[in-house]
Assembly symmetry: C2
Homo-oligomer: 450 residues x 2
């Protein structure tokens, strides 16, 4: 029989997170306040615990993972690395294809890797409650799970239209004991302000963030948790890439190319950054961030200081951006609908250390279905992006006859996205591509710095 | 750190299925035809392949598992055995609690274990298409997945009311390439007959079985696949119990009691039968089938010859039954709504080698939520039955101070059952208990044998 899965033992869960900031050619650009001056950690102390702020700024290469966090991660980690024998055969490619299945977490994606760490540090800091926002529900589920694991109350502001359309993600959060509110609510000033203008507001991620941050900032027992973009979030995800490297070692192989979906960047960074250290040491490995053509941040965005949220409440970050007021079309990979990107991922892209590619929606579902029929697992729409790019590369290998080793991260399963598959089968999905002028117009609306 | 998961390597997937018929104190009672005479394998040859019929009747203790089947099982097996440290702590019990997670299969339950085997033997027999019925969709999904793995076309007759209420299970089957029809259809005589009487018929599992069997019997390239009850189905599930035994050996422990949900009996039999061999050799182990109080087949049913389906098309089987015309209330553990039970499980219960217990619906969801909050995984409503019985035993241990070793099978995850959790949280679930007269009345409606 062919070996299908490369497994690690629980005691092989990494003991440290890898901090790419220690190995970047140039130091990361600092976040700036409204006055154009670097933001101090203290300014963020109202919503984040000290340990998280320290990680956000740290230049240490290796940051130890507390055993209490590793103990919770044991509930599903290390996640398996698969050799995709059946997909290779279906494609008829000489390439060897591997994927890591992050869908094995209880919440169904990689998101709990950081949610657990964030909940732990907040509890250590004496915090009793966490607030967060969620759109599609992946992040809200993860923080609900993590809060339950560490005895924290969790309140999730869920974008109202998702609250109504995705009742199952809501039930999932409630099963883990979280309180889920349809945002905008009348419990915050931000929410009331929106409702005063439009009592039937369907909500938005921007509004939900405002509500969650406002509540956290105004209650000393309550902090806020963010699911991507920031350095500490990407840091927590580096257990993925570290595990992958160990698993390739066990398999006696090494990837020529690594593909991961990229929205806010924590999944891509978590997978790719541990490989960057190898690259710095002279090893050849392509690191490819895959994004939707409908939200082409890295491939077509501007490298500039911009807000992290859509209403302009956060510090300014130097990153690839389509403009903080960019509203991506309603594609089904909700986790990839973000106007900006992790500043770390952005800078490494700017410096040419990583690549980015954009793929259109329908082609990602083509790839997801082909994958599901070969390998069984039904992937999340976000993951379908990485699968598409990897299959494209495998097909190029078929033409050239190259037996390359390809890897992609299966960031999550699609069990809560079956309505998107339904639309795909009924031919109701659309592709979107932005004209050059629309992309350029965003330049004028970027905030002026200093 | 405490060890959480006991893993096995792929090459430890069992090489043989365990056939409990070889070790039963008395030979199993044969299925009977309408004339009261034992049914010959030939009579079933129109819908089942020869290898399956041979397994159905075999007295061999060990039946080899072809490598091609094991290769597919590698996509998710061996499934992990968990030590439920956090659940133990939440209960404050001195008992050690273990569970096996069968929810890791692509279809989300143990069902693919037999679906893969059935698809394989059908392909080996030159069959090109499979038909089956599905209610909640667990079985239909599994056979869709398995058919795809072996290049067989699959047509699933899905009970119309489920087809409409559970579109996500339908999309899942379509993702794996199956054709899903809302039953009753106008493509079969059985379906047309029902529609003539009631054009708006919501369908039933009985009707869907009739349609699937009728089509399989009338097309030489097409066979039928069943997801529980029959001997070969239970046989294929014995890989679960065999893996559990190996995993307990690795953990240096052994269960005092084994709990598994029991509907048609293949999940319970698959888990428990490999332990029966130990029991026969003098080892103490309680084997407990857990069923709903609303469908109390083993605990309150009659041990008698009855039809396997509700319309009376199948051979007569000697089993515990509530009467083939018994319509269980619409509880959310759809997989446990069966009037009868596996003849093997039934006979072993009759002979006192296994136990059975019935638990009410709301208490099963209480247990499921308590489990999810401790261990993370959201269980299927069927699995919640085993969890309930196991928690009850753990709480008895707390009273007596006994440090027993308890095990339950987590037969599947609840990702496609979140609407049931929703109803639980909203207080909309009901408990059902049958009055003695209703149970006794079924006796008069059992078919006369011979």
């Amino acid at each position: 029989m062919n070996q299908t899965k490369i497994l690690l033992d629980e005691n092989e869960i990494p003991t440290h997170w890898y901090n790419v900031m220690a190995d970047m050619p140039s130091p990361p650009a600092p976040p700036l306040g409204p006055d154009g001056k670097p933001v101090s950690p203290e300014m963020l102390g109202a919503i984040f615990p000290p340990a998280i702020l320290e990680q956000e700024m740290s230049a240490e290469r290796w940051i130890p993972i507390p055993d209490e966090i590793r103990q919770i991660l044991c509930l599903w980690r290390p996640s398996p690395l698969y050799r995709a024998h059946r997909l290779e055969a279906a494609l008829g490619t000489p390439a060897r294809i591997y994927y890591k299945n992050e869908g094995v977490s209880p919440a169904g994606s990689h998101k709990p890797n950081t949610a657990v760490a964030q909940a732990y540090y907040n509890r250590e800091a004496g915090i009793r409650r966490l607030t967060t926002e969620t759109g599609a529900g992946q992040w809200g589920s993860s923080i609900a799970l993590a809060g339950q694991m560490f005895g924290l109350e969790v309140r999730v502001y869920m974008v109202k239209v998702s609250y109504e359309q995705k009742p199952f993600r809501r039930s999932m959060m409630e099963t883990w004991g979280a309180e889920v509110l349809a945002s905008p609510t009348d419990t915050t000033r931000s929410g009331r302000q929106i409702l005063a203008q439009d009592p039937d507001s369907p909500g938005s991620l921007g509004i939900a963030i405002s509500e969650a941050v406002e509540e956290a900032a105004s209650r000393p027992d309550t902090n806020y948790a963010l699911g991507s973009v920031l350095n500490h979030v990407v840091l927590h995800q580096t257990i993925i890439g570290q595990e992958v490297k160990k698993q390739f070692e066990k398999a006696g192989d090494y990837p020529d190319a690594v593909f991961a979906p990229c929205g806010g960047g924590s999944n891509f960074g978590g997978v790719a950054f541990p490989f960057l250290a190898d690259k710095a040491a002279g090893r050849e490995v392509r690191l490819v961030a895959v994004e939707p053509t409908s939200c082409p941040t890295l491939t077509r965005g501007h490298y500039a200081y911009d807000f992290g949220d859509s209403v302009g409440l956060t510090p300014l970050m130097l990153m690839y951006t389509l403009g903080h007021d960019f509203v991506p079309p309603g594609i089904h990979a909700g986790g990839l609908r973000y106007h900006g990107d992790s500043p770390l991922v952005s800078q490494l892209h700017k410096e040419g250390l990583i690549e980015a590619v954009a793929v259109p929606q329908i082609a990602t579902f083509d790839a997801g279905v082909q994958f599901a029929r070969a390998e069984g697992i039904i992937p999340a729409p976000e993951s379908c992006h990485a699968i598409r790019a990897c299959i494209d590369e495998a097909l190029r290998c078929k033409e050239t006859g190259e037996a390359k080793t390809l890897f992609f991260n299966l960031s999550g399963h699609g069990h809560f996205d079956m309505s998107s598959y339904d639309k795909y089968f009924r031919g109701e999905l659309e592709d979107y591509e932005y004209p050059e002028e629309a992309i350029n117009a965003a330049l004028d609306r970027l905030p002026k710095v200093g």
